[in-house]
């Protein structure tokens, strides 16, 4: 008996490791289940559109309603896209909504209060966001603070900074050239900001799916140790991801400032949860289990379709919070269920 093998305690769940096993069927089933899973959200989305079109043909099924739904969510789309970059690398960025607020407020303060040209104001806002991203990375990657803690702190801190630089008041009257470029001018009846979101979506999708460094970001997120031993500079990728998410936050702030022509210091934090809801809901579709820009796109517009439809039916504004919160929970629960390792309730209580 030369080959009697011991399973290595602590490394594997014995006895599976030691035995020759036939090709497992679970994998094959998982793939077909995933194929069905991919399409659930787009199908549900289409069904929701049809449902509201039938119920509210005069208000829901109009070009202006669709144009407004598509354009109004551009900033949320950009925030959710920004979130999935560090999420892919295994980090959270809870400061992104405050970064958007900082960006809009810097533009407002410099352009309106200090009469800077809009381009210069935007440049300073982006530099500030870049600096926040670098600072986040120093704290998370350099000092080793958990990203969820570090960025929660940073987000709260920036909320205070925004209140400080704005004197706690909304600033309106931002240059019309910005609102023209963002919302007033349109293409095919849809304001330009929608297309900006689409372009970012396509660029990020290209980077994550088709560029080697985008795939390395995924490796870093799935296993820091495997990535490190595979020669990937884990710290550089995490740093890059946190800086990128801050820049996306900055762009979202730019779009908000352009859409409203103003900067309101208290309105930004409400973007954080919908952003996460869209990111996680998006990870249940297109490529289940992964954060994809295409998934985010579907999720953002599915969520706004549902909310808009319900509001047209007479629901109050609280329906937004209910919808976003439920979407976050349901999407993460779906992801857990489809991952295959679900303990039975009984075993959890034992």
């Amino acid at each position: 008996m030369p080959g009697s093998l011991e399973t290595d305690p602590g490394h594997e769940t014995a006895p599976a490791a030691g035995q020759p096993s036939p090709p497992r069927r679970r994998g094959a089933r998982q793939i077909s289940a995933n194929l069905a899973g991919r399409l659930i959200l787009p199908v549900v989305w289409a069904a929701v559109i049809i449902l509201f079109s039938v119920l509210e043909p005069s208000t829901f099924l109009t070009l202006s309603n669709f144009a407004s739904m598509l354009a109004s969510q551009a900033s949320l789309l950009v925030i959710a896209l920004g979130l999935i970059i560090p999420l892919t690398a295994g980090d959270y960025d809870l400061s992104i909504a405050s970064v958007a607020g900082l960006s809009a407020m810097i533009i407002g303060v410099l352009n309106v209060n200090h009469h800077w040209p809009i381009i210069a104001a935007i440049a300073v806002a982006m530099l500030a966001c870049l600096a926040v991203g670098v600072l986040n990375a120093v704290i998370v990657v350099g000092l080793g603070v958990e990203s969820i803690v570090a960025t929660l702190g940073m987000g709260t801190l920036l909320g205070g900074v925004v209140l400080f630089i704005s004197n706690s008041t909304a600033i309106s009257g931002i240059s019309t050239s910005l609102s023209n470029a963002v919302v007033s001018h349109s293409f095919l009846g849809i304001p330009l900001e929608f297309y900006y979101g689409l372009v970012l979506c396509a660029l990020l999708g290209y980077y994550l799916a088709l560029v080697p460094s985008g795939r390395r970001l995924l490796y870093v997120g799935r296993s820091r140790e495997v990535a490190r031993l595979s020669g990937i500079s884990v710290g550089k990728y995490r740093t890059g991801a946190l800086i990128a998410s801050a820049l996306f936050g900055g762009i979202a702030g730019l779009l908000i400032a352009g859409t409203t022509g103003s900067a309101d210091p208290s309105s930004f934090t409400s973007l954080l949860l919908p952003g996460f809801a869209a990111a996680f809901l998006g990870a249940t579709t297109i490529v289940p289990g992964r954060f994809t820009p295409a998934g985010v796109l579907v999720a953002v517009y599915f969520l706004v379709t549902g909310i808009t439809g319900l509001e047209l039916l007479g629901a109050q504004t609280y329906v937004q919070d209910v919808f976003y919160g439920a979407a976050l929970i349901i999407s993460v629960a779906l992801a857990e269920l489809s991952s295959g390792h679900r303990p039975s309730l009984r075993s959890l209580w034992r």
């Binding site: 008996m1 030369p2 080959g3 009697s4 093998l5 011991e6 399973t7 290595d8 305690p9 602590g10 490394h11 594997e12 014995a14 006895p15 599976a16 490791a17 030691g18 035995q19 020759p20 096993s21 090709p23 497992r24 679970r26 994998g27 094959a28 998982q30 793939i31 799916a209 088709l210 560029v211 080697p212 795939r215 390395r216 995924l218 490796y219 799935r222 296993s223 140790e225 495997v226 490190r228 031993l229 595979s230 020669g231 990937i232 500079s233 289990g289 991952s339």
Partner: protein, 516 residues
């Protein structure tokens, strides 16, 4: 059983004819163990001899296929149900100890009790302190209760785990404590302290079973030794009645079966005749547990590195791979020399050094990702043309690789976690071979895989060995004797013995490790 002279104590545990198979692998063929009160009983045997399986069966972790068990004269029905071992007075401490390093000694001691808390609605910490201090004193350990467990010496951590396991038992004598390879990472002084603590238990009529690799330690400090080989109990002797030589003979056997792979022997002969002129040289390698090591590998040669657990051969390979920082040392391949201090995994890759790490899922592959994203991980840029990763090509390439590696099924979209251990290991080897390394480093490349997969892995590694340098670490002496041209034995961070092809046998390697 051939227990030596007059039995010194009452029989606490009598296990006979334990058997356990996993699939077609017979891990335990006939395990016998007789434990008497007041003895420290060592259980020795090579990797794969069935020690761990035996102990896990006694702990109720595995259900045995057959066997009988009596505890203090009472027949016990098998299998032992989970948790049933404690009520029989059997306690188990595993190698990883099961301590939470960030919690205090006191909190760790209270862990099991609190896990099944049925008492008052609040914790009486004063009583917990007293109990913890009393339980530790049973082992003669007087440890600061408020210190984090992680900051203790290794041996003291082991004592905390042992005291905790012991305290969970009922009764106050006639208990048996099983310790699975606690001494591997301990310094000599710490090993002595551990045995000293165990003496406190045996003096009261309990017994201790220690699984160990170190025969010298066993002979010096244990009372009785039981030897397992190839899944069967070979002998039980009093340590006073047996010499080191006799014990290692028992352990190794007279004619340890070496798997025959004739094609490979042919290859090996060819390699021996074609000794290249530029050997690889490692010199002055110093790192954690490695102390100024130097050795050579000839082109086309497969060199095995081995030693007892913790002797530094694993760490030596990790520093060559850039995975573990070296404090000093250099390597020279074909006239190119580079510093090992400050070497990164990427630096190693760029110089043509590939490493198959020992833990395939924690270090090698990403379990949740499919083969097509694992196999080409190191060479993804190769498929990046005109601004796009050519995924269809990646997929085809992965399928071809998987077929060549005999991965079953060779589906490039199947997540690695859906494959068996052997197939995962083939994919990990494939991932590293994608680099076409000049130097291939293998750390336990066949650990926990079945026999068929092991033979395939050997063949895959040997197939290209003539074109590169290969360094292979393993604690499976069978494997080393079968595949290596030369074996370098480490002891306490240094090279202690080199065995050339002619003198290479399972027994020779075992003796060299044990004598070191």
């Amino acid at each position: 059983m051939q227990a030596g002279q007059q039995p010194p104590g009452e029989v606490l545990l009598d296990a006979g004819e334990f058997a356990k198979s996993f699939g077609t692998t017979r891990a335990l063929v006939r395990g016998d163990l007789l434990i008497r009160a007041g003895e420290i009983h060592a259980l020795v045997g090579h990797n794969g001899s069935g020690k761990s399986t035996f102990i896990r069966t006694l702990a109720g972790y595995h259900d045995p296929d057959g066997g009988r068990l009596a505890v203090r004269g009472q027949e016990v029905p098998l299998p032992i149900r989970p948790g049933g071992a404690a009520s029989l007075g059997l306690a188990f401490v595993h190698q990883d100890l099961g301590l939470i390093d960030s919690l205090s000694v006191l909190e760790n001691m209270s862990l099991t009790r609190l896990a099944t808390w049925r008492g008052a609605p609040f914790i009486r910490w004063r009583q917990e302190r007293l109990a913890a201090r009393r339980d530790l004193r049973q082992l003669g350990a007087d440890l600061p209760l408020d210190t984090p467990a992680g900051s203790l010496r290794q041996v003291d951590r082991a004592l905390v785990a042992a005291a905790r396991a012991f305290a969970a038992l009922g009764g106050d004598a006639g208990r048996v404590l099983f310790c699975d390879e606690l001494t591997g990472y301990l310094a000599r002084k710490e090993v002595e302290d551990l045995y000293q603590a165990m003496r406190q238990l045996t003096a009261r009529g309990d017994a201790v079973v220690l699984v160990s690799h170190d025969l010298t330690e066993v002979l010096d400090m244990a009372d009785v030794v039981t030897v397992l080989r190839n899944g069967a109990t070979i002998a039980t002797r009093r340590t006073s009645d047996i010499s080191l030589d006799d014990l290692s003979s028992l352990l190794v056997g007279d004619s340890a079966a070496v798997p025959q792979l004739t094609q490979e022997q042919v290859d090996q002969a060819r390699r021996d005749s074609a000794v290249a002129d530029q050997p690889l040289q490692v010199s002055g390698l110093t790192a954690d547990r490695v102390d100024g090591v130097q050795f050579e590998v000839r082109a086309g040669e497969i060199v095995g590195l081995t030693g007892l657990v913790g002797s530094g051969h694993e760490e030596a390979v990790e520093t060559l791979a850039g995975a573990l920082p070296a404090t000093a040392g250099s390597i020279c391949i074909g006239g190119e020399t580079w510093d090992l201090a400050g070497l990164t995994p990427r630096g190693a890759h760029s110089r043509g050094v590939g490493w198959v790490p020992p833990s395939r899922l924690a270090q090698g592959l990403i379990a949740s990702l499919p083969a097509q994203e694992n196999l080409p991980m190191l060479v993804l840029s190769r498929f990046f043309r005109r601004g796009v990763i050519r995924w269809p090509q990646v997929r085809n390439h992965t399928r071809e690789m998987a077929v060549a590696l005999t991965v079953s099924p060779p589906d490039p979209r199947l997540p690695v976690q859906a494959l068996s251990g052997g197939n995962q290991q083939k994919e990990l080897l494939g991932k590293v071979l994608e680099l076409s390394p000049r130097l291939l480093l293998l750390s336990e490349p066949t650990r926990g895989v079945d026999i068929a997969a092991r033979a395939t892995l050997w063949r895959l590694i040997e197939a290209g060995a003539a074109r590169r340098y290969t360094i292979w670490t393993s604690t499976d002496f069978d494997e080393l004797a079968s595949v290596c041209d030369r074996v370098i034995v480490f002891s306490k961070g240094r090279v202690s013995t080199q065995l050339s092809r002619e003198s290479l046998s399972v027994e020779a390697i075992a003796r060299a490790c044990l004598a070191a």
